[in-house]
């Protein structure tokens, strides 16, 4: 099996997804592309010069040791650093929308790019139903039927419907941690984002719920572009089409993209010895 490796995204990886992507979809191009992205907090440059594409309707796994800036990069895509004090330079495109252009409104970016966080964060004062449709309501959707349908569909997707269908109006915080996380996934899905960013979405889930989420990710990838941060190498191989491997650079403070390619290549025949060492579990 010959696999073309695109180790840096000068050439779009979408050109040759090769054998690893199932299904016949429109020609896979970048739904999100980062060009020379740097993020700093004050003087501390956290990630340097990241060039990365998330291929449309595919799952891209972001892996790498703790603290190398995976979360930071993910948050740069939907402008969450506007409020975190992080400074982003470089270019981020979502479709043809230039995320950091002066006249781009962060709200519109975020209504197209959903996010699921590492720790479940349902709105504590809202019911399950209100949580799921919060994004729709805030974006001006009023129709009860639409809300209802969207909530049901999103909860189905998040493998939560059967659990909560009889108590949609009870407080969201009464759910267990894993259920809360699935609720947050449903909340992100309800606005039908084109891109879904997931930051270790399964770190609070049991294996069965994790399997459901993985199944969901695979299904969603027919319509949604997914960026998935994970520390679980098996999960990356199970669900992702492409993998980006990050590592702290030589200064031990700034993360950088070491290697990018389709998942099979990254895990079976990576170019960079550091990638090989990491994915085979020799170093952490």
């Amino acid at each position: 099996m010959t696999i073309e490796i695109t180790s840096n995204v000068e050439t779009s990886p979408g050109g040759s997804p090769g054998q690893s992507t199932p299904g016949a979809s429109p020609s896979p191009t970048a739904a999100v592309s980062l060009r020379g992205v740097n993020v700093s907090f004050g003087k501390h440059r956290v990630v340097r010069d990241v060039n990365l594409d998330l291929v449309r309707n595919r799952v891209t796994a972001l892996v790498g040791p703790s603290g190398c800036g995976k979360t930071t990069i993910l948050r740069a895509i939907n402008r969450l650093h506007d409020d975190s004090g992080g400074k982003v330079t470089g270019q981020v495109l979502v479709g043809d929308l230039d995320v950091y252009a002066r006249d781009t409104q962060a709200e519109l970016v975020r209504s197209r790019v959903g996010m699921v966080f590492q720790r479940p964060n349902p709105f504590p004062t809202m019911s399950i139903f209100d949580n799921v449709v919060a994004g729709l309501r805030l974006n001006g959707v009023r129709s009860k039927t639409v809300l209802r349908e969207a909530a049901e569909s999103a909860l189905h997707h998040a493998a939560l419907w059967d659990l909560v269908k009889d108590r949609l109006h009870s407080p969201a915080v009464r759910l267990s941690g894993g259920q809360q996380q699935r609720l947050c996934i449903a909340r992100a899905l309800a606005v039908e984002p084109e891109v879904l960013l997931m930051d270790e979405p399964c770190s609070a889930l049991d294996p069965i719920a994790t399997a459901k989420i993985e199944e969901l990710i695979t299904h969603l990838a027919t319509d949604v572009t997914i960026g998935l941060v994970t520390h679980n190498m098996f999960q990356a191989t199970r669900v992702s089409d492409y993998t980006a491997f990050f590592l702290l650079g030589d200064d031990r403070a700034t993360g950088e993209l070491v290697e990018y390619g389709d998942t099979k290549t990254i895990f079976e025949s990576p170019h960079d010895p550091r990638t090989r060492a990491y994915v085979s579990g020799e170093v952490g």
């Binding site: 209504s111 729709l136 959707v141 399997a211 459901k212 199944e215 695979t218 299904h219 319509d223 099979k264």
Partner: protein
């Protein structure tokens, strides 16, 4: 790369074409709705921010005017001897307010010594216990906040100053007591709020390490709440430092440089009161000068509160 698909999983329609259609339709609807409503949402946001700015301006205006006016009238009286000399008898020029400055500092210092430990412990109790007693205590603190300071003054007079009471004559200590009662509810509620900002997780993290409860309180709760505690206490002090009514009933005022808290003492607010109510320009000038000194003192306290809590916050990181 194909994923492991678990049968009977999430109730996702098996016909992926229909799914795509449904998703596409809803996505279009949400996008349109978002675009349509964004203008209005932004407008509402702008208006809200505008109103906030106006509100800030309205509340700052009297403050700025007061500070500016007091400063313009007060600095004229200010001189080194104004700060270091005791008052002269009425009609004789010169004289200062050193007795009032010293008196105020002593009275406030003693009030802090009384109110802060008790208040902090009450707050800790309120944070730790949810029972009926805690509810009653919180209610009592709220009621006490609303008690007019003149009522506290006459109460302190009855307990400590009047004939047959504990001390039996005017004294700085009685004033401290009145101010401590005044500060107590403020300290309690501010400290409680500060301690509540320490997440429950941290309490439990501490307890789960096998640490004794008292130790968790000291190293985790009090430490975490420290910036808030400092701010809350200093605000209570700032509030008390300008009080006049309770002091009228308790310390009487003195033009001598008294340092014994069991004797009548001077106080800045009393100096303002007694001079400001006289028609003579010289007395007026002393009142304004004292008001200015008081203002600077309160301002200095607030600045100290900010700096200390900022430094503590930075250390905590």
């Amino acid at each position: 790369m194909s994923a492991t698909v678990f049968p009977g999983g999430a109730g996702i329609p098996s016909d992926s074409g229909a799914l795509a259609d449904a998703i596409g339709a809803r996505r279009e609807l949400v996008r349109q709705s978002a675009r349509r409503s964004l203008g209005r949402r932004r407008l509402v946001g702008r208006i809200a921010i505008g109103l906030c700015v106006v509100a800030v301006a309205i509340s700052l205006a009297p403050l700025v005017a007061l500070v500016a006016y007091t400063t313009s009238r007060g600095v004229k009286a200010l001189s080194w001897s104004f700060l270091t000399h005791i008052p002269t008898p009425p009609g004789i020029p010169g004289g200062g307010i050193s007795s009032a400055i010293v008196g105020s500092l002593i009275i406030i210092g003693l009030a802090v010594v009384m109110a802060v430990p008790i208040g902090t412990m009450c707050a800790l109790f309120l944070v730790e216990r949810r029972g009926r007693l805690a509810g009653a205590l919180r209610f009592a603190a709220d009621v006490l906040t609303g008690v007019p300071s003149i009522a506290l003054g006459i109460f302190a007079y009855a307990v400590l100053v009047g004939p047959g009471s504990l001390i039996g004559h005017f004294s700085g200590l009685a004033g401290s007591f009145a101010l401590a009662v005044l500060m107590l509810p403020i300290v309690v509620r501010a400290s409680e709020a500060a301690m509540r900002t320490v997440p429950r997780d941290l309490w439990e993290a501490g307890l789960a390490l096998g640490v004794r409860r008292s130790r968790v309180v000291r190293s985790v709760v009090l430490r975490g709440a420290l910036p808030g505690l400092v701010t809350g206490n200093l605000l209570a002090v700032a509030r008390a430092v300008g009080e006049t009514a309770p002091l009228l009933f308790t310390v009487l005022g003195s033009t001598l440089l008294a340092t014994n808290p069991l004797q009548p003492m001077g106080a800045l607010s009393l100096t303002i009161y007694s001079n400001g109510t006289q028609p003579y320009p010289a007395a007026q000038e002393i009142a304004w000068g004292t008001a200015f000194v008081l203002l600077v003192l309160v301002l200095a306290l607030s600045v100290v509160a900010r700096v200390v809590s900022a430094r503590l916050n930075r250390q905590a990181r």
